[in-house]
């Protein structure tokens, strides 16, 4: 070691840090070092169920935004299920011989009529209990039941949204004779922007007899969409939905069922 600087080391060894670096805070430095040596794990470990709950909550909120508000005192029902597998058009011909429906029949049966091969749907009357699902109502158009019989109208619609399975909504309304009541269905303006709404079926049932006029895409003289256009007011005038073969007193007396909005209010005649 060179003699001129050899004692530098000794002097530096004896030096005080306070002299060389007065602002050095060894405790503060230790705190930093300690945190690095023993890091505190700040991440919260949430249980798996909490993530699932959060996802469900988000999905539920999304669905609520897509649905309209519910009504407590409504007698209609809605359901998210596949529509009934009825593919035969209802007996809507004025000349056809109508058939009686059996109220206690669970399954739907389709029998060709003797004349003109028309079909009659025999089925049990659908009531609110039969649907038994969540009640979610939509548009509330008033309809006047101008017939002497109580009538139930069920409108089955399908909402189709991108990247999701189509869902079916069934809204049923019971109309007392000679009274106005609410007719409920899903309105176009009540669905999400990217979704489409189609009417699959309309069932018009005489509650007393159990007869049902089933309208779908193939029914005649009117399809479900035709009748729906009059219900919503898209078309003005009247349309023949079909035929009931008997009155409420089960007397054989054919009469047509017509929806009329010619004078503004919707009337079933």
């Amino acid at each position: 070691m060179a003699p001129d600087f050899e004692n530098f080391n000794d002097r530096m060894e004896r030096a005080s840090l306070k002299e060389l670096m007065p602002g050095f805070d060894k405790e503060a430095e230790w705190l930093q070092l300690s945190h690095k040596l023993h890091p505190v794990k700040k991440r919260l470990h949430l249980p798996v169920w909490s993530y699932a709950a959060a996802i469900l909550l988000l999905l539920g909120t999304g669905v609520l935004f897509m649905l309209p508000p519910t009504t407590k005192n409504s007698d209609s029902v809605a359901r998210h299920a596949s529509p009934p597998a009825i593919v035969v058009p209802a007996d809507t011909s004025l000349n056809a011989r109508p058939a009686m429906a059996q109220a206690d029949t669970q399954a739907k049966e389709i029998k060709p009529l003797p004349n003109k091969g028309l079909a009659v749907v025999k089925k049990r009357i659908r009531t609110r209990k039969d649907h038994g699902l969540i009640t979610r109502y939509t548009a509330k158009d008033f309809i006047c039941n101008g017939t002497p019989c109580p009538i139930q109208i069920c409108i089955n619609q399908t909402v189709t949204c991108p990247h999701t399975q189509p869902s079916t909504i069934s809204s049923s309304s019971t109309l007392e004779p000679d009274q106005s009541g609410q007719l409920r269905y899903k309105a176009h303006d009540k669905i999400a922007k990217n979704c489409s709404l189609t009417v699959n079926e309309i069932e018009i049932t005489s509650i007393a007899t159990g007869e049902t006029i089933l309208l779908n895409t193939n029914s005649s003289p009117s399809t479900a969409q035709d009748v729906f256009n009059y219900i919503t007011g898209k078309k003005k005038g009247d349309v023949l939905a079909g035929m009931f073969s008997s009155d409420c007193d089960h007397q054989e007396k054919k009469h047509g069922v017509r929806l009329n909005n010619r004078h503004g209010d919707l009337i079933i005649e």
Binding site: M1, A2, P3, D4, F5, E6, N7, F8, N9, R11, M12, E13, R14, A15, S16, L17, E19, L20, M21, G23, F24, K26, E29, W30, Q32, L33, S34, K36, L37, H38
Partner: protein
């Protein structure tokens, strides 16, 4: 608690033992850092990394008696300082200003009057290359072969850096006196 026990406890990651060793050696190691790295903030960063490495690798350390912990920690600290200097691309420049002090004899007395703070200030005036070799030679007691291997330079470069560093320091000391 003696140092051997502290080392043993540090191997078990005991915070109290770590703190005790830190308290014992933080000041001398900071002085080491300041000799190599002039910037105080950089020096503190180097010190932190040195202690981290020390505690991280203490499991492989064998206690060999008094002074062994200090020597090992100092070695780690010096290496950490050199790493810091390498990050800054330490340059071994031949300084022209050295030429005028090549044959200056400062005499023993001039150096004897310098205190630690003045010595540190003088060292800090040296370029990185001079300062590093000067530190390794005079303070760490290495020879030129060891320095050249450590820094990845030739022995000739090590010698010239030291020679010029000494000459430069002598000239500065002469000027201050």
């Amino acid at each position: 608690m003696d140092e051997a026990t502290l080392v043993k406890c540090c191997k078990d990651n005991n915070p109290a033992a770590q703190k005790a060793l830190y308290d014992k050696y933080v000041e001398p190691m900071m002085i080491v850092c300041l000799r190599y790295v002039a910037d105080h903030e950089d020096a503190k960063e180097v010190l932190m990394d040195a202690f981290l490495n020390f505690f991280k690798h203490i499991g492989g350390f064998t206690y060999l008696g008094d002074g062994s912990v200090r020597a090992w920690l100092k070695k780690i600290t010096v290496n950490q300082c050199l790493m810091q200097l390498r990050k800054r691309k330490m340059y071994y420049a031949p300084g022209k200003e050295v030429e005028q002090y090549e044959h200056v004899d400062t005499g023993e007395n001039a150096l004897d009057y310098l205190n630690a703070k003045e010595i540190m200030a003088m060292i800090h005036t040296l370029p990185d290359g001079y300062r590093t070799v000067f530190n390794l030679y005079f303070f760490e007691g290495m020879n030129h072969k060891e320095i050249s291997e450590l820094l990845g330079i030739s022995e000739g470069t090590s010698k010239s850096q030291l020679h010029r560093g000494r000459a430069l320091l002598k000239g500065k000391i002469l000027q201050t006196n």
